[in-house]
Symmetry: C2
Subunit: 472 residues, 2 copies
């Protein structure tokens, strides 16, 4: 999961959002809300059957086991890597063998960045080997590295104030962790802001809710006209220590070596499978997660879990012999971590059919025990979602929060399509996010069972109701 603040702005300019207000079908309901409530209540037995199969029945732990097999076999799956290619091929086969329909791959050109060998050593005031993770798209250093004095700041404002001190230095950001979406700007823009004031490199405190000396990587963005400087994340622990040292007046010198390299774009694919709708096959409820990951850990949580509960949703529905009126479409996105490249490509290709999209769903913030859904849509659609979530009373996951989001589905949501995402323990999520710790050890099969049940019930019922979700 990558935060999209900046990319978003780009999207708004690239596309006319008016297209999102296009006419769509089946919206003008003549039915009263009471009638809709009754329609939803009739899915109680179906919901129970899905829950029983997922949580207590023979499908229990299946999404966990399937995920473990994939990520143990191929490891992390960064954009442009052989392992991502391998994962896509395996998933293509898996989805076919699972008996899903219209299994196919949609080509996408994706970035290819490799971190290479990297190291950072504090030379003054004492020698200390630092754990780092270079940031996606960063250039490398010269082979001999960059050795320079450090300027520590806690904010962009402090960097501006102390701009004259930054020239020729390595800027260390020791920004406090507020929340991911607020704090991630330092990872994304830290290098550009440091380069503007003449720094040679920037090291950013990892954007993490908790640390055991764990560096966290992620994408960063250069700006046209601003010199490109190497940039990496350091641990919360080292950022705090460097800050303490600086406050005591210590001169701090760091040697940074990064073998990072950007290669030409690589060929990749979004992986698609369906249960084709019985009555409105051209209409779609989209369930999704991304198959790519960062190059550390196993990408089990981000976003193996989201991808595999999405597959599991279709498997559960198929296993129960159900076929909704609308098409349930599973998409496993590629190169989400590079800025939603697969999601963007899919939107460009399919937006002509936007009026056929009833709901877009993405799980990319963990598949721990969910507390409910985040949802963006009209108030009428929200009221419907709240009724649907009542069907999940047996697993006690009934809440509907604001705001539905996901890097790959935001394009649709911005264009007016209702969107939903799964809500769980974000403190836990951002403890492991983009770190070596994103492995199967974080995942809990029982929690994934519940998450898959929620995903399946919501996607099935919305796909099967008489009418599409109403838009604003």
């Amino acid at each position: 999961m990558k935060f999209l603040l900046f990319t978003f702005v780009g999207v708004v300019h690239l596309f006319s959002l008016n297209s999102g207000k296009a006419i769509y079908k089946n919206d003008i309901s003549r039915r009263t809300f009471q009638e809709i409530k009754e329609e939803i209540a009739r899915y109680k037995d179906v919901a129970k059957a899905i829950i029983n199969l997922a949580v207590y029945g023979k499908a229990q732990n299946r999404s966990y086991e399937r995920l473990a097999l994939l990520v143990d076999t191929v490891g992390p799956r960064p954009s442009g890597s052989k392992s991502l290619e391998k994962a896509i091929q395996i998933m293509y086969r898996n989805l076919q063998e699972d008996g899903l329909e219209n299994v196919h791959l949609e080509p996408v050109k994706i970035p290819h960045w490799e971190r290479g060998e990297e190291s950072a050593v504090m030379l003054e005031p004492r020698v200390h080997k630092m754990a780092i993770l270079g940031l996606g798209s960063s250039i490398g250093t010269p082979p001999e590295g960059i050795t320079a004095e450090v300027l520590v700041v806690t904010s962009f404002e402090e960097l501006q104030r102390r701009a004259p001190e930054a020239r020729g230095k390595i800027v260390v950001y020791n920004q406090p962790y507020v929340n991911y979406s607020k704090t991630v700007q330092y990872r994304v823009q830290g290098a550009v802001e440091a380069a503007k004031v003449g720094a040679l490199a920037s090291l950013i405190r990892s954007v993490a809710s908790f640390s055991i000396y764990s560096p966290h990587t992620g994408i960063q963005e250069y700006q046209d006209g601003v010199p490109k400087i190497p940039t990496a994340c350091i641990t919360v622990e080292d950022a705090e220590m460097i800050s303490r040292m600086a406050s005591r007046g210590n001169r701090i010198v760091i040697q940074l070596k990064m073998g990072a390299k950007n290669y030409p774009d690589a060929d990749s694919f979004n992986t698609v499978a369906e249960i084709i709708g019985s009555k409105y096959p051209e209409q779609v409820v989209l369930v999704s997660g991304h198959l790519d990951s960062w190059d550390v850990g196993q990408g089990a949580m981000d976003d193996g879990g989201g991808a595999f509960i999405s597959w599991e949703a279709l498997s559960l529905i198929k296993d129960l012999g159900l076929r909704p009126k609308r098409t349930l479409r599973l998409v496993l996105w590629t190169a989400e971590e590079q800025g939603g490249i697969g999601g963007f490509q899919y939107y460009q290709l399919h937006k002509v059919n936007i009026s056929n999209y009833s709901l877009v769903m993405e799980s990319d913030e963990g598949t721990f025990l969910p507390s409910g859904l985040q949802f963006t849509g009209s108030e009428k659609a929200r009221a419907i979602m709240e009724e649907v979530m009542r069907l999940l009373q047996p697993v006690n996951v009934t809440q509907v929060f604001r705001t539905g989001e996901g890097t790959d589905i935001n394009f649709w949501i911005q264009a007016g399509v209702p969107g939903a995402s799964l809500v769980d323990d974000l403190y836990k999520y951002f403890s492991f996010h983009h770190s070596h710790g994103d492995t199967m050890t974080v995942m809990d099969p029982k929690q994934m069972n519940v998450a898959a049940a929620v995903w399946a019930v919501v996607s099935y019922v919305i796909a099967d109701m008489e009418e599409m979700l109403p838009r604003s």
Copy 2:
């Protein structure tokens, strides 16, 4: 903090515990318990003054700030290292400058082990660089490393059962974490048990309550007559993955390289300072923590915190112009992590005066917000400790648990001297213990203030009461 199960057994054999039943002074109280309660209650104002100074007054955050300065300056302080030597010299000066009395160093010969460069790479079923930490006292591998197939077991029992499969392999222990004292036997004895069945090396799942792909080091012990094989801890994550792979029938091959080396014993010191008793200067209440640490992180938690709240206890008492009847002795142990080497040496040197020791205290399980004290002693002594802990009602730390312990004070406790240790959040403690994550980031100045207040009130009151704590 090192668990002492095995060393303990050794100690029991080395010393006659009967000496613990030696006669000691001032024990046979003619006073009723009511009179003792009243005596303790009269310390209410003194306790309040200590708490106010430590928690709200000008001493607040002092132990944290002092600790940060030391560990940022010298870094981790493994047995036999220059940084431990430097830390001892700094502390000697600090204690003198603080105006404490009888500041001196007591020589100790300590082990000197260095990990050197180390790495582990899984070669089959897929290439994966593994985080490891070699274990203290382990030998290294040949320079080309040891490359061998893996046998994974979850217990010593399973290893016995599968002994014929172990020859020529690397044994990986994926034992579940029960608690530290139960689970640490795999770290301490894993190499010996694997060597007995012909293994070439052993890799042990880190003994940790929580992990973000964090390896945890610690001491291990070879046995006479059993071949020495290299041994290291791997992460919980890798141990679990290897276990999953093995259960799927994968052949797993690992290449292990360790540059670990044992050097001749080094010269070191226990660091001692006192507030000399006004009435019974020969009688002692000992407060302590250890100054050495493992060679990763900063040794801030294990046991910088314990050492520095012990120093702080004396500082607070001195700052208030208090002088107890008995001598308050601060000892900062050396080479605790190698098996309580400094503590053992001190016991050997001072046990002739065992009858003069009223109470031995060590804090070596964290200085987070304490919930109380662990205590070992007679029931009468326990009743007195419970009364003393009532004085800490203002900071809500009043509980007295069983059992007081600490690697360096266990010698005394086994010999019959009452012993106390601080109780706090062990789950948190064992998340960071012996890992790169043991840094100042884990420490909380406010929590250290409270811990120091507890330490100061207890040591002062016990040192100042009319009579020594009664023994069994």
